[in-house]
């Protein structure tokens, strides 16, 4: 319904960006909780920060 009144491409990019941001933040939460439970695994902390920088911020 919303799509009828708006140009397709800007709306598509806006919605896709919002959904990607939600997904990236979900991944960051999952990785951060796992890193908190297993502090000896440095890869989890690196992955959480990398996801925030590479996926969440551009989204």
């Amino acid at each position: 319904v919303i799509g009828y009144s708006r140009p397709f491409f800007p709306l598509f990019l806006h919605v896709l960006g919002a959904m990607t941001l939600v997904g990236a933040m979900l991944a960051v939460i999952v990785l951060t909780v796992a890193a908190w439970r297993r502090p000896e695994v440095a890869a989890l902390r690196r992955a959480a920060f990398g996801t925030l920088l590479i996926v969440a911020i551009p989204a």
């Binding site: 009828y4 598509f12 959904m19 990607t20 939600v22 997904g23 999952v30 297993r38």
Partner: protein
């Protein structure tokens, strides 16, 4: 509102699973690969909830807003929904196989071998997950564009 919330759960969960899948392939040690693949299972309920919410509330909206059930964009959406679920399931089975190998290697010295390398880089297995993502993306295009409506 529930339909759009479901879509956010479906696409957001798929993005999170995709990120964790990429991380599992880039991990240095099998124990890390197994850990990232195990974490994918924590986002599966989000994808499942989103998947069913989009379908159920979507069909309800079609009824409420008096769209024709046999419109091209609605049939295309249902076909893409089925395709995304089937491909996602097949990709998930491939990831489960990789996780079992990674866990076995993690328990036996934690060094990568060719078996793990081959399954992580298997183009057919990975294609299932990426094609599921493509079907989800096309579903989003279809929902916003509504071709034939």
């Amino acid at each position: 509102m529930f339909h759009i919330t479901g879509a956010f759960f479906l696409v957001g969960g798929s993005v999170a699973a995709g990120v964790l899948n990429v991380l599992s392939q880039r991990a240095e040690r099998p124990s890390e690969t197994a850990l990232f693949l195990r974490l994918i299972r924590t986002v599966l309920p989000v994808i499942a909830l989103g998947s069913f919410a989009t379908l159920i509330f979507g069909l309800w909206l079609v009824h409420e807003l008096h769209f024709a059930f046999w419109s091209f964009w609605i049939v295309a959406a249902i076909v893409l929904w089925l395709l995304a679920n089937a491909l996602g399931g097949a990709g998930g089975k491939h990831q489960e196989r990789a996780r079992k190998i990674a866990e076995r290697l993690a328990a036996a010295g934690d060094t990568r071998d060719d078996e793990l390398r081959v399954i992580l880089r298997d183009p057919r297995g990975n294609a299932m997950s990426w094609l599921a993502g493509l079907a989800t993306l096309l579903l989003l295009v279809d929902m916003i564009w509504k071709p034939g409506a």
